[in-house]
């Protein structure tokens, strides 16, 4: 979480228009999901991988490591789609099993293949977005899209609170380790429990203090703040639109 956030802030295209980056990623994602065209999805996957490696501050090795998580998850959860059980043998692979056959058919395989490629290209689009655009910039985009303000303010406060609590949890954990709080499994568990209870109490206290501080700065139920302004160049918009149109047209064939 902190790592993703750090990478987003250090991205070389952090100062580029978040609206443009969002359109590029979300547009491509929509094309992947709505047309489910394997070749176009593959194209988008490659393009996103290249863009992420080029424009986000991370190495290919780390990028692949980021992708293994979702990959394992997808593999495990798509097994049920790939294999199925029937009384007659399947055309691709068949394993006799009890009174029937466990196997993969051509249809199930192409179904699985399509699902995997759509899911993977979608993940690559999202990775591009979160690795180049910090949450605060995404909030700006959502505000421009007229997302309900209550939701946006909650996101803003929660995002900040996550880091305050993570810092606190970190400090508590370090202080526990310094006093050999992790010498056995049992003490680790009890230390964890104590930390969680302290975190709950502190977060309640902190939220009331934070509210006092906001009150004293004339908080009236609505948060208005300045946002960084990074307009995109015309060519960049045109380039992005051409990409999206090309992908759409290719998907239609």
């Amino acid at each position: 979480m902190i790592l993703l956030d750090k990478l987003a802030y250090s991205s070389p295209i952090r100062q580029k228009s978040p609206a443009l980056k969002t359109l590029f990623a979300a547009g491509s994602l929509t094309i992947c999901v709505s047309f489910r065209h394997s070749l176009v999805c593959l194209l988008i996957l490659c393009c996103m991988a290249v863009c992420t490696l080029r424009f986000a501050n991370l190495s290919a090795k780390r990028y692949l490591r980021f992708l293994t998580g979702p990959f394992l998850f997808l593999m495990l959860s798509s097994v049920a789609i790939l294999f199925f059980f029937s009384s007659s043998p399947q055309d691709l692979i068949s394993i006799p099993c009890f009174s029937g056959y466990l196997g993969i058919s051509h249809t199930s395989f192409s179904h699985w293949y399509q699902l995997m490629i759509v899911a993977f290209s979608s993940i690559s689009c999202l990775y591009f977005l979160i690795l180049t655009t910090p949450i605060t910039d995404l909030l700006t985009v959502l505000r421009k899209l007229h997302c309900p303000w209550l939701l946006l303010e909650l996101m803003l406060l929660i995002y900040r609170a996550i880091f305050i609590l993570l810092d606190l949890a970190d400090a508590i954990q370090i202080s526990q380790n310094c006093r050999l709080g992790n010498h056995s499994f049992r003490s680790k568990l009890s230390g964890m429990g104590q930390m969680l209870s302290v975190l709950l109490v502190r977060s309640l206290k902190k939220s009331s203090l934070l509210y006092d501080a906001m009150e004293s700065r004339l908080y009236d139920g609505e948060i208005r703040v300045l946002e960084e302004h990074h307009p995109a160049k015309k060519q960049e918009w045109i380039f992005c639109f051409i990409w999206l149109i090309v992908c759409t047209v290719l998907s239609l064939f």
Binding site: I135, T136, R160, E215, S216, R217, R224, L226
Partner: protein
């Protein structure tokens, strides 16, 4: 005659859990004063500040601003908080926004200023407090000192008449403590009244022209830095220390090197006197 800005009359404040945090406090705050409030932890400094800003409502007693009792209606509080700003001790309890720019612009927007003015003021304050280099960083990646400066900028940008700072020098390195020191001097010169809470006797002695000592929810003493810090019984009762420079000049006075009425407040002043 000094003009009274704020009057605290018989102020008592009891928390919901029945702990009495302030007990019949009487205090006049004069315009253009540099007031330091001293006292050990838990003596009621922070509670007093939140009462001055109208975040807490006194259990009994009252507070007057420019002769008028505080009005706790929405509108009254709004106009009070435009004039009285608090910088909280712990920046993490004050900074709510993930971006530094957003954080500093929150107050001025609430004052009802338009975007251009807000942007102007924010740019200016970031320049004065050298925040500009990390303006585009998120709040959670700032160091303690940087957070502190942002929390001070938060309030300064609202241009209050009375500025209250709770332990402004904690977590700052000497360079930035010096910077805040200079800014506080500029502020009082430009006519803003400043109150700080501090444990640092040296800091208070150098900066303040009046010191109020709080102890166990009471005002224990109120006077000039010289008066307060020469009273050894008082200092012992309030768990305070004598400023180093005062100890040094006391020794010099006993040895007959410095005359009785000299009170150097900085090492430079002492050197001038010794010439």
């Amino acid at each position: 005659m000094k003009e009274i800005l704020m009057q605290v009359q018989d102020l008592s404040y009891r928390y919901e859990d029945q702990t009495l945090a302030l007990d019949k406090i009487n205090l006049n705050i004069y315009r253009h004063q540099r007031l330091a409030i001293m006292g050990s932890n838990g003596s009621g400094k922070s509670t007093l500040f939140l009462n001055l800003n109208g975040v807490y409502k006194p259990t009994s007693g009252q507070i007057l601003y420019e002769g008028k009792p505080l009005d706790y209606s929405r509108k009254g509080l709004l106009s009070l908080r435009k004039k009285v700003g608090i910088v909280f001790q712990e920046p993490d309890n004050q900074l709510f926004c993930a971006s530094v720019l957003g954080e500093i612009s929150f107050g001025p927007f609430n004052l009802g200023l338009d975007e251009a003015t807000v942007r102007n003021r924010v740019t200016q304050i970031c320049d004065t407090l050298s925040i500009t280099p990390f303006l585009d960083k998120p709040t959670h990646f700032l160091s303690g000192g940087q957070k502190k400066r942002v929390s001070i900028a938060d309030i300064l940008v609202m241009e209050p008449e009375l500025l209250i700072l709770d332990e402004p020098f904690s977590a700052l390195d000497p360079k930035h403590a010096h910077m805040i020191d200079n800014i506080l001097k500029q502020l009082t010169d430009s006519g803003i009244t400043v109150i700080i809470a501090t444990h640092h006797a040296d800091q208070a002695y150098r900066w303040a022209d009046r010191i109020v000592v709080l102890n166990h929810s009471h005002v224990l003493a109120d006077g000039t830095p010289q008066e307060i810090f020469s009273n050894k019984e008082l200092l012992a009762a309030a768990n305070l220390e004598q400023p180093t420079l005062m100890k040094v000049s006391d020794i010099l006075k006993r040895k007959g090197i410095l005359s009785e009425c000299d009170f150097p407040k900085t090492a430079e002043e002492l050197e001038m006197l010794l010439k």
